[in-house]
Subunit: 343 residues, 2 copies
């Protein structure tokens, strides 16, 4: 190898595009492959949905403020979120872990207690995995399997012009929780002062113990809504809506005053002199669902308190726009989680 | 946490038993869960088979003598081997990697070249995955998906008394390849002498570029043989036949003079003053298939040059026995790969 290209020069998504540029599909059962929240496999008329995530200590989580039980729970939930983001029901998981010798059996028990709690809460079975040593730190790989009726799965690439853009729940909380915990960790390291998490249980909970939006998928089923496109928000709203626009070859208009905030999160943002809108756009790990629906579904959506309509899909030529409270238009930029999370 | 139990006190299999002791199955589609080469999921009358493995630099592979392309190939193959060990056909894989900043795009391209070569050789699709940074080293997680007709999957727990015990290919080669490469690495570190791999391409190839026994599964199908139990040999014959015996609640008798060796491997073992039988019993990573068949299948098996009949299944009360060339009987012990591989 005479050349050396730094991975950072491609970025995460550029790297994935690069590594999968020659990927070929050989099995007729492979319906959706690389490039969505999960893959879809045809199984004799029904469809199986598959996704996997790798979580690495020091990159994705910090054990100095993350209880192992919460980490086990979250490791499962973030994968189930990808299954729900395909409009499918998760059914099984596989989980592999690697750990250095600083971990005891009791520590792994705590982690698995969280894993099993999540399995129970979401009705999924743990059906396999692998355990291994690591040279450094704790590494977690989770694969989730789900199922969906034929033609009911929802991809990222099928949003249509004039569709409504919707988001479940509230945004920015997990990023503010991370900011708080990183701040308290720094203060503790410098002064030995115990963390002051008073009144911040919402944002800390959003980071450490997120939930996947099973309820929203159930609502779609009951209300007979089939979103035209969907993904879960793991990197931040800006970055994620840009994925939908790029893959669907459309543009979008989002309205700042429609973005859903939690009041506690908003107050904490002001306290830190952070812009709540920036937190909602660029903070990640909220694991809310970002989806588009046809305008004809407006009546079915409008009274659901868990769903906010935040904008609409436009022609690709109109770009990807945020309309501020003051009525100004800004181009959305993919300044996602990784960027803000970088240390 | 007031107690601390060292993980080493349980061992790998003890740890897995411990962590999954309260694992419950909630979905009727979960046919085979934790404890076999792969899980089996019912999909509306057909069956999906799932397995996952985690490979960690410094634990499972050493990049000082493992070409990245070979590593990519092997990462896929070891998972496909688990699918074949269920008598199923692999169809898709998911692959996640984490890497430190010492890796370049060109290095990852080499790794993926091996991944895609394996996908092509075995006719599987890469359908998803995840990429991430790591604090140290290269970490690979592969999940493989396969399919099998109803009631055709083969578990570890269903061997019957008087069944014939069979193994595909030859044993001990990968362990000898590892021994050679570790020795040359040490000599290079001490003296700077270039590796002497003259005439050792067989054993080096067995370690660095193993193949999964797709051909044996195809033979079963053509010859209409359904093994009564099966697994792949990843930890070593001794350790792996003991899994089958424990899970099937039976004993076994193996014959030393029936164990299949490669002549080059045997000569290298003698050169290092290692006992070839010990290498076959306790060396791992051969990825051959270990299986049992009913005696009524003897005529179908006996002339296949890729299959050796190495013993038979006995009552549990008779124990797990190796009969030596001299006619002595020894209890088989699970001195597997991890033990020999420990540095």
């Amino acid at each position: 190898m005479s050349e050396r290209t730094e991975i950072a020069s491609l970025g995460e998504f550029g790297l994935i595009d690069h590594l999968t540029r020659n990927n070929e599909t050989r099995n007729a059962s492979t319906l959706v492959s690389v490039g969505d929240d999960a893959a879809v496999i045809d199984h004799f008329g029904r469809q199986t949905v598959l996704t996997t995530d790798l979580l690495v200590e020091g990159i994705h989580f910090d054990l100095s403020y993350t209880p192992l039980k919460h980490l086990g729970y979250k490791s499962v939930v973030v994968n189930l979120s990808d299954i729900y983001a395909m409009n499918a029901q998760p059914t099984q998981i596989l989980i592999s872990i690697a750990f250095s010798n600083r971990f005891s059996v009791e520590a792994l028990d705590e982690f698995y207690a969280g894993v099993y709690t999540a399995c129970q809460a979401y009705g999924v079975d743990l059906v396999g995995g692998d355990t291994s040593s690591s040279q450094k730190g704790f590494i977690i790989s989770v694969t989730a399997i789900g199922e969906v009726a034929p033609d009911q799965y929802v991809k990222r690439s099928t949003a249509k012009v004039n569709d409504l853009i919707c988001v479940s729940g509230e945004l920015g909380g997990a990023f503010l929780g991370l900011t708080l915990l990183e701040r308290e960790k720094k203060i503790f390291a410098e002064t030995g002062a115990q963390p002051d998490l008073e009144g911040q249980s919402y944002i800390v909970g959003r980071l450490l113990k997120p939930e996947a939006r099973k309820d929203v998928i159930e609502f779609f089923s009951e209300a007979e809504i089939l979103p035209t496109s969907m993904m879960d928000i793991s990197d931040g709203l800006s970055s994620d809506i840009l994925h939908i626009c790029k893959q669907s070859e459309v543009g979008c208009v989002l309205y700042e005053d429609k973005l859903p905030f939690n009041e506690e999160a908003r107050q904490f943002a002001y306290k830190l002199q952070l812009d709540p809108t920036a937190c909602a756009l660029s903070g990640g790990e909220d694991y809310e669902l970002l989806f588009t629906v046809s305008q004809s579904d407006y009546e079915k959506i409008k009274n659901n308190p868990n769903i906010s309509i935040i904008g609409y899909i436009s022609e690709a030529s109109e770009g990807t726009i945020l309309v501020t409270r003051a009525g100004n238009k800004h181009a959305l930029v993919a300044q996602g989680w990784n960027h803000m999370h970088a240390k």
